[in-house]
Amino acid sequence: MPDDIMQLSPTQMDALREIGNVGAGNSATALSQIINHRIDMNVPEVSIVPLGDVPDLVGGPEAMVVGVFLRVYGQAPGNILFLLPAESAFYLVDMLMGKKRGETQNLDYLDESALMEIGNILAGAYLNALFNLTKLSLLPSIPALAMDMAGAILNVVLIQLGQMGDHALVIETEFTTDEEGIKGHFFLVPDPGSLDTILTAVGV
C-alpha cells in the first residue's frame, strides 16, 4: 500500500475522487437546504501538490479568506478545511442572517458562530457520506474559524503533512451558488497514515 502518496495508482486516485464526489455532494445538498439556493459543485480535484503550491489553489497566499477548520478523529484521522473568499463569506452571512446583500462587511461573534455551524454541517454531511462508502467511523471536532491570509490559514492543515513528506494529497471541491456569487472550497486532507485505511476500506 502506498505509504508514499507519490505512488498512488490511477485506480486509487479515481477512488479518492469518488469519495470526494459523494462527500461533497452530500455537503452541497446540506448547504443548499440551509440557504435555499441551488449549489453547483465541480468534480472534485484529487491532486498531489508540493506543499508550497497549495495556497495557489485558492488565489494565492495573500488572498483574504475565511477558513473553518475541523479536525477529523476516528479510524482515518485528517483535517477538513472549508475556505471562502472573504466576500463570499460576507454574502453567506447576509443570507443566513436575513440581511440585505452587501450589508455584512466584517464578521462579528454571531456571524462567526453561524459560519462555524455551516462548517460543522458540511463536515458532518461529508463524513456521513464517507462512512456510508467506507464504513470507517469518523468524527469531526468542534469547528474553529479564522479570517486571514489564505497561506496562513492553510499552514494549519499542511503542517502535519510537512512532518511526513513534501507533498500534500488534497481532495478539493469548489462550490458555487446559482446567483449570489458565493464560492467556497472544501478540502479534505487525510493524515498520511489514513490514506491506506481509506483505500483499503474501499477495496483498491
Binding site: 508550497g52 468542534i142 491570509m149 497561506g151
Partner: protein, 161 residues
C-alpha cells in the same frame, strides 16, 4: 532596479542589495532573516516545523528550523557575509485557530519560534528583533539595502522590526 525575490514555503533565498526578499502568508510558519549590514547581503528562510529529527521522509532541510538555519547561513557566508556581523530577525509563529484543548500541532508556531532561537544561539548569531505568536497571518520581507524587516498583516497593519 531593485529585485523582489519570492521565498516559498519550506524554502530559502539569499541575495544582496538592492534586492528585497519576501515570503507571503505565514501562519504558524516563521520567516527568519540573516543580514550583514556592511556587506549588504542576507537571506530569508521560511520554515514550517521545528525539528527535522521528529520527521519521517523529508528531503527538504529548508522546512525545519534545526536544518534550515545552518543551510541558509552557509549560503549567506558564501555570498561574502561575515559571521560576526550577521544579525537575525524573525516573524510568524502564529496560532491561527484557537481550540480549547491545544494539541502539539496547534502550538507548532510557538515551538517553531523556540527552535529558531535555539538554533541561532548555538550558531552564535544574535537575534535582534522578532514579531511572533498571536493569531494572525503575516507577510514578511527584508530589504537587503538597509536590513529593514517589514511585517504586513490583514488585521494589524504593517510594521518594521
Amino acid at each position: 532596479m531593485a529585485d523582489l525575490i519570492k521565498v516559498g514555503m519550506a524554502d530559502y533565498k539569499v541575495g544582496r542589495a538592492p534586492s528585497t526578499l519576501i515570503s507571503y502568508g505565514l501562519g504558524s510558519c516563521i520567516g527568519v532573516s540573516l543580514y550583514d549590514p556592511q556587506a549588504k547581503v542576507g537571506g530569508l528562510l521560511h520554515i514550517m516545523l521545528p525539528d527535522s529529527t521528529q520527521s519521517r521522509a523529508s528531503e527538504n532541510p529548508a522546512k525545519f528550523a534545526d536544518t534550515g538555519v545552518p543551510l541558509m547561513l552557509k549560503d549567506v557566508l558564501a555570498l561574502g557575509a561575515s559571521k560576526s556581523r550577521l544579525v537575525a530577525k524573525m516573524a510568524g509563529g502564529a496560532q491561527m485557530f484557537a481550540f480549547a484543548k491545544a494539541t502539539d500541532i496547534m502550538r507548532v508556531g510557538a515551538r517553531n519560534a523556540e527552535a529558531v532561537k535555539e538554533q541561532l544561539k548555538s550558531l552564535g548569531i544574535k537575534l535582534i528583533a522578532e514579531d511572533t505568536g498571536e493569531n494572525y497571518g503575516r507577510t514578511v520581507q527584508i530589504n537587503l539595502e538597509n536590513g529593514v524587516y517589514t511585517v504586513k498583516t490583514m488585521v494589524k497593519g504593517e510594521k518594521e522590526i
